[in-house]
Symmetry: C2
Subunit: 214 residues, 2 copies
C-alpha cells in the first residue's frame, strides 16, 4: 500500500512514518516509482507496536529504537532482551546519591532478592525515590517499602508466566512479549493502582476521592 | 538568601527558579532592593518538592503546578487532593477505545472494586494498555491482569496507611504525603518491579537478565 493508506490505517501521520523510517524504527518501504513507496502489512504491524511503546508506554523515540533492535536481533538471549526493556524506562536526570543506592541494595538483600542488583536499572530509580522523599523530609514514606516489594514479587512472577506461555512459540513472539509486557506493565500497574486507591479510600472512609467521581 | 545561594543549595538554576516563580509553582521572593530578591528556607523546601515531582516523578510543569495548588488549598478535602494527584500522571495522547474502557469497568467490578470507576484516571490508562496489547496482537497478556490487580490492592492499602499515619499531623503534611506518595509511588513500583523480575528470572532459569549484570 502507499504511505497515505498506511497512515490512514495506523493513525500515524506520513511525516511521522518517514521520521520513524529515518531513525531506523521502521524498515524502509520498497520504492516502486517516482515519489512512490510501497508498504506491506508488516509495516502496519510495526507501526502499531511503535505507537504502543511511545504513546501508551511513554518511551522516547531513542528508547523505542533500542527495544525494537533487541526484538529484531534473532540471537539475543531473552534475558538480555529483558535487560534492554528494563533500561528503556526514563531515568531521573540527577543520579541518585551513593547512600541511597547502597540502601536499596541492602533492602533488596533483606527482602531476599539477589546480590548484584546494583547494576539493575530499578535500583537507580528506587534510590532516586528515596532521595526524593528525603529532600522533602518524608522519610516516613519508607514504611510503604515492604508492601511495595511484596507487590513487585507478585507482578514479576506474572510477567515471567506470560513469557513462559509463548516460549513454545517463535522466539520473536517471546521477545515481543518481554518488551511489550515490561514497558506497558508499568502503565498498567499505575492505572490499576489508581482504581485500587479509590476502592481502598471508599472502604476506609466511606467516600471516594472526590476528584475522581462525577 | 539571594537567588545565587538558593540556586546553589537546591541545585536548581536561577533561570529555572525564576521560571517556576512565573508559572506559580514557587511564591515570589521578597524584593529587598534594586535587582535583589530575598528567599527563605520555605522557598528551598518548595524547590526540593518541585524537583522531586518533576525529576523523579516525571511530572510536567503544568501537572506539578496542579498538585502544588492542591497541597496549598487548606480547605480542599484529602480525597480531592488524591484525585488531583491521581490525575497528574500523563495520559496517552490517543483516548482509549470505548470497548476497552467498558472492559476495564467490568474487570474492576469482577475484582470487587467499586462502581463509578469510569471517572478514575486509572481506567483510561488501563484501557489504553489493553488497546496497546490488541494493536500488536498480544491479547494473551491479559492473563497477567488478576496478578496486577492483586498487587495494586496491596499497594493501595500501604498508600492509605502512609496517609493515615500523618493525619494526626497538620493537614498540609497529609496532603503532601498524598501527592508525593502517589506521584513517586509509580516510580518506586517500576523500580522494584525490575529488581523483582531479575530475581524471578534468576530463580526460574538460573541466569539473571544479562543486560543488568556486570
Amino acid at each position: 500500500v502507499r504511505i497515505s493508506e498506511l497512515s490512514e490505517r495506523s493513525g500515524v501521520s506520513p511525516a511521522s512514518i518517514k521520521y520513524y523510517a529515518r531513525e531506523g524504527l521502521l524498515p524502509a518501504g520498497e520504492r516502486t516509482g517516482y515519489n512512490q513507496t510501497d508498504y506491506t502489512p508488516a509495516h502496519l504491524e510495526r507501526l502499531r507496536l511503535i505507537r504502543s511503546l511511545i504513546d501508551v508506554g511513554g518511551l522516547s523515540v531513542a528508547a523505542t529504537a533500542a527495544v525494537l533492535s533487541a526484538i529484531d536481533a534473532p540471537d539475543l538471549p531473552l534475558g538480555e532482551v529483558l535487560g534492554v526493556a528494563q533500561n528503556a524506562l526514563p531515568q531521573p536526570i540527577t543520579p541518585p546519591s551513593a547512600a541511597s543506592v547502597q540502601r536499596v541494595v541492602d533492602l533488596a538483600a533483606e527482602h531476599g532478592w539477589p546480590a548484584h542488583t546494583e547494576h539493575n536499572p530499578g535500583v537507580r530509580i528506587v534510590a532516586s525515590v528515596l532521595d526524593g522523599w528525603a529532600a522533602v523530609g518524608r522519610e516516613d514514606l519508607a514504611s510503604t517499602l515492604p508492601a511495595y516489594a511484596r507487590a513487585a514479587d507478585v507482578i514479576a512472577e506474572a510477567d515471567l508466566d506470560a513469557v513462559a506461555h509463548v516460549v513454545g512459540d517463535a522466539r520473536a513472539g517471546a521477545a515481543q512479549t518481554v518488551v511489550v509486557g515490561t514497558v506497558l506493565g508499568d502503565q498498567l500497574l499505575a492505572g490499576l493502582r489508581r482504581i485500587a486507591q479509590q476502592h481502598a479510600a471508599l472502604k476506609r472512609y466511606g467516600t471516594p476521592p472526590e476528584g475522581t467521581t462525577p
